[in-house]
Amino acid sequence: MPPEHSRDMTETPTHCPYCALQCGMTLGGSPVRVTPREDVPANRGGLCQKGWTSAEMLTVPDRLTTPLMRARRGAPLEPCSWDEALDRIAAETGRLQAAYGKDAIAVFGGGGLTNEKAYQLGKFARIALGTSQIDYNGRFCMSSAAAATNRAFGMDRGLPGPITDLGQADTILVVGGNVAETMPPFMRHLTEMQDRGGALIVVDPRRTATARQAGLHLQPTPGTDLALANGLLHLALTEGLVDEEYIAARTNGFEAVRTVVNGYWPDRVERITGVPVPYMRETVRLLARGGRSLILTARGAEQHARGTDMVTAFINLALALGLPGREGSGYGCLTGQGNGQGGREHGQKADQLPGYRKIDDPAAREHVAGVWGVDPETLPGPGRSAYELLSALGTDGGPKAMLLFGSNPVVSAPRATAVEERLDSLDLLVAADFVLSETAQRADIVLPTAQWAEESGTMTNLEGRVLRRRQAVRPPDGVRSDLEIIAALADRLDAPGKWSCEPAEVFDELRAASAGGLADYSGITYERIEAEGGVFWPCPSEDHPGTPRPFLDRFATPDGRARFTAVEHTGAAEDVDQDYPVYLTTGRVLAQYQSGAQTRRVRALVEAAPEAFVEMHPDLAERLGIQEGADVRVASRRGTATVRARLTDAIRSDTVFIPFHWAGKGRANLLTNPALDPMSRMPEFKVCAVRLEPATPNGAKL
């Protein structure tokens, strides 16, 4: 073998850049070739099209390799040196903070950042900038499930056990999750369960690819999942299927829930949700038949203005059936973003410090300040949540500048035109990204960063298992890692503390900062992750085995018992009416990921899913005079999108669906409603009211 090729022949075991399943893959060769790993339980040798084609991201033609800067607002982005860019950021932030106070600078992170970056970004905001104004796009992802599980179990960790428990289950209820498209290899576990005779039940307003594989599909009116969950619990009670012994031994608060669900008798729920009573009865029977049962929620149940309560209703059901804390059973949340789990544990959330600590807890502040070598008094308090932060930009009392890492809110935030206005009103917008995303295009300074296979670190997957992401190739010349950018800025800002550019060193600091917290990583090392195929948190010491199944003995609440919380159905924040008579729900397609900044640059994925569309029932289309493939104007109270019609009877005739991955006129988030959940501050992406009309005179295909 010629020596000059030897480096290219190195095979690097790592994980996919995209979703929270974090499929194992090996990268090698030049150009880099992707091979699925058999030794990773999450995917067991499977990959979807996004994973197979992920290496294409390493050679996209519009890769940024030099910092860009505008001389002034309105001037074009032009190449500049790193020193020019970093100096100006330091100078501008200093000037703005002198004029408007520390909170004049906002930081916006992402659920795709490694644990090390998320940790360092939170620390940078708190002690280098001294700002409370930091949040991240995970707020748009699974914050409702996080709030609900914290309330019920005292801890928020995605799945209740290893993913291999799924294949051994007898019944799995998936609520508002289309895993067949969002994380296809996940289906292998569900298929394994079904092959063993297990029952898959899917709740979704659309007959998705996942619903088609289910033995039972409940197709509720958007925004009515809470009523459905309460109705299922009502049936469990009247049919004597609740686990009274478990309720007495392991929970608090059931009587209040019983009183509330007394108001959810089957036919009332049927009328609210449209789900027939016999299907509800069968669902309860399957969940309560005594084997291993899992209830899993995803964005469909969570992205609502009452998302925390919606998830809580399903947790109540799980608790009443005695599922959580029993091996192989339980409640789980299907995490979305690659590091959606770890990204919400280590301090890039407005109200949080590393280790899932609360920023307003004096003991937490003291511990973390000690690790950072600062006075706890100097740490800011809680800041604004993501959408509130974006809405405050450039307003009186709001931040004047924002530093953005690993996020594209112009596409992913609700009511996107308002978000654009806010971004444009800033004195300074800095975006760190490896391509010129739609948000980066509006920035004053763009910093080119290394990506996924060019750097290393750790990711925490949907199981709560901490994994190693390994560097397979060198980043292009001119590009820096996020850690390097943060360190260089911290240096210019004369920040206290250490600012390592080495992921391993940052991870060691993260371990110390998380020690004693809920998400305790202190016993996890890179070596252990490699030797053990990942380590489940919490892991409080190096001789601790990690915690694949929390709650077997006690819940993470002060008294060790899970908490029931009674919740009532109120319906969507914006219901349909005469002017906007159709429900819109948004979501994902297989070949694209999140805001599409990555996947819209991969040829095969663009071929598979080239543009946004609106999925509608043929009956609705006929009434509106819309033909398959025709352009349709979809309007809400917040904006108008133009997308092609795709007719299918897989959707309710009172509801349309638009995937949100695209920018431009097909941008779903032009329409969505930023009504926020009172606890999680999650916007209501999953339901709003729209009207539709043909964009061409006859509604015909152009």
Partner: protein, 482 residues
């Protein structure tokens, strides 16, 4: 503003919680004649059937009142309304002033004036309406062998089913020609009777009860007498002959009463703007709504209007959907179900399989459901109720109103019929044509095709289809030509 609510049943208790959801300050007093916490009347048939305990059907936690600053006077009956002084006088001697009075006194059971009922019902005979009635029925049932239920409406059938489930021999005596004649057409009534017979319940139709039979003075009931002269024996007699709005207080206060307290679309008495009425004691238009859903809608509208949460909220009538709660009898009925085929303005769809207890009917006018019955098999009830509720246009595929999934069923295509453009592997976007091309280049097994095209390497769901296509291609190759 101060609000006084008379009645703490389904409507009154709902209004109180809806109001507090919107406004935590306004002084709020609620009088409930029954001593216990408000309970869900819909679930009484569950109690009768033994699937819920009497203490398990509460609607509002007793502690809730205190937490939410509500003066709850449970077990205290209002005896007089003084509209001039704007006060209510109660059985405990108290006088409570109001600025807004909400009357939610509900209804009481109707007992026909027949011999044997003059001085109240004899022991062993109970009118079925409240939780106390329920306990009384269960008490008698525990020593009874046979039961007669007078009235074959919704409540009577639910009671009969509950008692039959407890092992009693039950006869339903019904005045009309078929059961639940208000909700069902004769065909459905017949199928329902047949279903009930299988569950051990006998129905006597066109049977006029002329008296209750009891032993000597004060002795226990022994059965009912019919106009035909027949006697139906029963150790327990349940009267389920309907209800009448409880409007005594309102009438005495001089409010306009028709069958109920007459209100406008803000639930305001047409006589007195300070008085509102909701639930089964109120009448909007010509209708006294006897089901829970409209009562709760009225409670919501009234809370919206009184608190200003939505001053435009109005009650403009409600669509009534009936759902029988009886084990092993699935029944949903709504709207006008009595139309026959001969009516030129309506379209009537019907499906019946009497021997299996199935009867389905949908009545359509102007492309909207105006009535429907689903008996025996109700898996499309969710769709139908929502279409009826919203007066939404109907699907082109009418069969889907009767049979779920008729519209969307896609049978797995055989490899032969599948077009080349059809996607086999969705995870990796691989078409049949690409698989064929791969095979033509020499791949001869599913594994080889997978390695080349990535088909089946995602969710794994298309593995069977992929193997089928490869096998079919192999077969084509080995088949003799010509």
């Amino acid at each position: 503003m101060s609000i006084v609510v008379i009645g703490n049943g389904m409507a009154g208790s709902r209004f109180v919680t809806e109001l507090r959801d919107r406004d935590r300050e306004t002084p709020l007093t609620v009088f409930g004649a029954e001593r216990q916490q408000p309970y869900n009347r819909v679930l009484l048939s569950n109690v009768l059937a033994g699937i819920a305990g009497p203490d398990q059907i509460g609607l509002v936690d007793p502690a809730w009142y205190e937490r939410n600053n509500v003066d709850a006077r449970l077990g205290v009956e209002v005896v007089r309304i003084d509209r001039e002084a704007k006060t209510v006088h109660a059985s405990d001697g108290s006088v409570t002033p109001y600025e807004t009075l909400v009357i939610a006194t509900g209804s009481t059971s109707f007992v026909p004036p027949i011999p044997g009922t003059e001085g109240g019902l004899p022991p062993g005979a109970v009118a079925f309406r409240t939780l106390d009635d329920c306990s009384a029925i269960l008490d008698v049932a525990s020593t009874a062998r046979t039961a007669v239920v007078v009235g074959g409406g919704l409540l009577g059938i639910e009671a009969a089913r509950g008692l039959a489930g407890r092992g009693l021999e039950v006869t339903v005596v019904h005045l009309a020609g078929h059961l639940m004649e208000r909700q069902l057409d004769p065909g459905a009534g017949k199928v329902l009777a047949r279903t009930l017979r299988r569950l051990g319940i006998r129905a006597l139709l066109e049977a006029n009860v002329t008296g209750l039979r009891a032993g000597a003075d004060g002795a226990r009931v022994t059965g009912v007498e019919l106009a035909s002269g027949d006697v139906v024996a029963g150790d327990l007699v349940v009267m389920a002959c309907g209800v009448k709005p409880e409007v005594g207080l309102a009438r005495a206060a001089g409010l306009e009463i028709d069958r109920g307290v007459v209100v406008d679309e803000t639930l305001t008495s047409v006589t007195d703007p300070a008085v509102r009425a909701i639930g089964e004691c109120s009448q909007y238009g010509d209708v006294v709504y006897g089901l829970v859903a409209p009562a709760w809608e009225q409670a919501t509208v009234l809370a919206d209007v009184l608190t200003g949460a939505d001053t435009d909220a109005r009650f403009t009538g409600a669509r009534q959907i009936t759902r029988l709660k009886a084990a092993s009898v699935e029944l949903a009925a709504m709207g006008e179900t009595h139309h026959g085929d001969d009516d030129p303005d309506v379209e009537v769809m019907q499906f019946a399989d009497a021997s299996r207890g199935t009867y389905k009917k949908v009545v359509i006018k102007d492309d909207r459901v105006i009535g429907a019955i689903l008996l025996g098999e109700t898996s499309t009830a969710g769709t139908l109720t929502q279409l009826y509720d919203r007066a939404a246009p109907l699907p082109a595929d009418r069969l889907s109103l009767f049979f779920p999934g008729m519209g969307g069923v896609q049978t797995a295509d055989s490899p032969v019929r599948m077009p080349d453009a059809a996607t086999v592997c969705h995870c990796n976007n691989v078409s049949k044509g690409q698989i064929r091309a791969c095979w033509e280049k020499g791949a001869r097994s599913a594994a080889e095709v997978a390695a080349e095209t990535r088909a089946s390497t995602g969710c794994g769901g298309c593995r069977d289809a992929l193997e089928g296509i490869v096998a079919w291609l192999d077969e084509q190759e080995s088949a003799p030509v010509g």
